[in-house]
């Protein structure tokens, strides 16, 4: 801000601050109604019958099985999507080729597809009358209603998250350092390990954070392919639904609170990365 604008805003008439106060009040009221109130109601409902009841409902074996499956799914989907994100970012930002725009559009596609459709497509392929059903039956294999289907659906839903963090950043950084290393005789693996990877490490972490949050919380896609078998193909978000539909509200909201805590933790880490390592992340409006 220059001296002039500072003087101007200082010289603003007093009655403007009333309007300012009203706007701030209205914005915060809206934020409370739409975002903060739902967050607090989770806690209130979870503790309705006391902390003991909430803890007891969380220590059910079904909850643990669901938590294990959720973590397992995330642990498979995110690393695969990270490798994909790095490969996609490398070929899209370091080379020029025909079809690049199409490739980038395809990478973003899962973001605009309904989660239910992201589940549906796997049923169309592997379901009881899916395209590959005859082969699967002949081989005695089942994919639908197993953890494999849950992993497939989760990969599809979270596929763009890492690529979308890495591509703009690597575009910004350019390939000067990698070209320099190449002229100095560095091997491809050395270029990748000692130049590219360190340059994108914070963006990679940021993308992993977002992808993990989405993978652990995914509901629609997973719901379609899971079959809702307790203890076997039930993830934490699906377990919330089962408990809720059985009118076990304390159990449902206690499990929901567990997921909400994970979400809040994600937000804290996310804003930490945004403040501390802003220069190492792609500069743009983040979604």
């Amino acid at each position: 801000m220059t001296a002039e604008t500072l003087r101007l805003s200082a010289a603003r008439p007093r009655n403007l601050s009333l309007g300012r106060g009203l706007l701030i009040g209205l914005a915060l009221l809206w934020l409370t109604l739409i975002v903060l109130a739902p967050l607090s109601v989770i806690l209130v409902e979870a503790l309705r019958k006391g902390l003991g009841a909430a803890v007891a409902s969380l220590s059910q074996p079904d909850v643990w099985a669901a938590a294990r499956l959720t973590l397992l799914t995330t642990a498979i989907a995110t690393p695969l999507n990270a490798v994909f994100g790095l490969a996609a970012a490398w070929c899209v930002t370091r080379f020029d080729f025909i079809g690049k725009t199409l490739l980038m559009a395809l990478i973003d596609l899962p973001l605009s597809v309904s989660p239910v459709i992201s589940g549906l497509v796997w049923v169309l392929l592997f379901g009881a009358s899916g395209w590959f059903a005859p082969w699967l039956n002949a081989a005695g294999l089942q994919i639908m209603f197993t953890p494999v289907a849950i992993v497939l659906a989760t990969i599809l839903v979270t596929l763009p998250y890492l690529a979308r963090e890495l591509i703009p950043l690597m575009q910004q950084q350019g390939s000067d350092e990698e070209l320099a290393a190449l002229t100095l005789g560095a091997r491809p693996s050395a270029i990748f390990l000692f130049i590219t990877l360190p340059n994108v490490r914070w963006a990679l972490l940021y993308g992993v954070l977002l992808a993990n949050a989405r993978a652990m919380g995914e509901f629609g896609a997973v719901s379609v392919v899971s079959g809702h078998i307790r203890g076997l193909t039930n993830t934490l978000p699906l377990h919330v639904e089962i408990l809720y539909n059985e009118y076990d509200f304390v159990g449902a909201f206690a499990t929901a609170a567990l997921l909400a805590v994970l979400a809040l933790l994600t937000l804290v880490l996310k804003s930490f990365l945004e403040h501390r390592h802003a220069d190492d992340l792609a500069a743009r409006g983040r979604c």
Binding site: F84, F95, I107, V116, P237
Partner: protein, 281 residues
């Protein structure tokens, strides 16, 4: 020689290694997880013939579900355009206690699992809930009506709008506004003549994202919607219902219709954005 020329035709040469490997892996991965699955979505609706596709889309239940998903998403996006715009404005221009917390909380709908948001919104806006209870005496019902669907879509769409506008507002040169003020422009004139044209492209892209998210939204909506066929049943839920009846072609048809409709609407949105950007330049 000819091979060289052919190669140059589709890629610009670069001394950097790993082109074939990275492109090959990217294309293979995308084919496996995006292309083949979505091809199934595009082909399977037609397996019982053209007429059955029309019948599946034109059935009253499908029409009602599609209408609800798209209209509710449009209303939610419009509400988010106004209130998200206000939030972005307040967060970039004013200082007040708790501002950083408010800013961080905007992203909660991204991070909170949709099913969690769904049961929380339902508990809040049901007739025996803290907010729904206040509105019930006034005759306003939110949960288990289409209004509830809109509320859930507002929740999931909010961050898209705020996060799209915020960087533009941040970079906007405040001296222009100050100049307009010294020339006697009212706050309303400054908002509509200077700020709105500058943020409009970003606002439209944010609203488009929020709309697309709302159309496909499932987890946060199904708890609060009540899910009455023809009245409060969203299109994604109809897909799930048809899958449960093993009507794969019917489910794929609704899914395909949703994708084509959203695609067309977003295309229109992009055209509008381009038009505005060109007029501005």
């Amino acid at each position: 020689m000819t091979r060289q020329a052919g190669r140059r035709a589709w890629r610009t040469p670069s001394p950097l290694p790993g082109f074939s490997l990275s492109l090959g892996f990217t294309v293979a991965y995308l084919s496996l997880f995006v292309l083949i699955p979505l091809t199934a979505l595009a082909i399977r609706p037609w397996e019982n013939g053209f007429d059955s596709v029309i019948a599946a889309v034109a059935s009253p239940r499908a029409q009602a579900a599609l209408r609800l998903s798209f209209i509710a998403a449009a209303v939610a996006a419009a509400v988010n355009a106004v209130m998200g715009g206000l939030l972005a404005w307040v967060l970039t221009r004013y200082d007040f206690p708790g501002k950083r917390l408010a800013d961080a909380v905007i992203d909660l709908p991204f991070a909170l699992p949709t099913a969690v948001a769904g049961i929380a919104l339902t508990a809040l806006y049901a007739q025996n809930g803290p907010i729904g209870g206040l509105l019930a005496p006034l005759g306003i019902k939110i949960a288990y009506t289409p209004v509830g669907v809109v509320v859930a879509m507002i929740f999931v769409g909010l961050p898209f709008v705020v996060r799209s506008i915020q960087p533009v507002l941040q970079d906007l040169d405040q001296e222009v506004e100050a100049a307009a003020e010294t020339l006697g422009a009212s706050p309303f004139q400054r908002a509509t003549r200077i700020i709105l044209p500058a943020v409009l492209p970003a606002l439209l892209s944010g609203v488009g994202l929020a709309f697309a998210r709302g159309v496909g939204e499932y987890g946060s909506v199904i708890f609060i919607a009540g899910n009455m066929p023809l009245r409060s049943e969203i299109a994604p839920l109809l897909i799930v219902t048809q899958l449960e009846q093993f009507d794969y072609a019917g489910a794929a048809t609704i899914g395909m219709a949703m994708l084509i409709l959203s695609f067309l609407i977003l295309l229109g949105f992009n055209g509008l954005q381009g038009l505005i950007a060109r007029r501005g330049a």
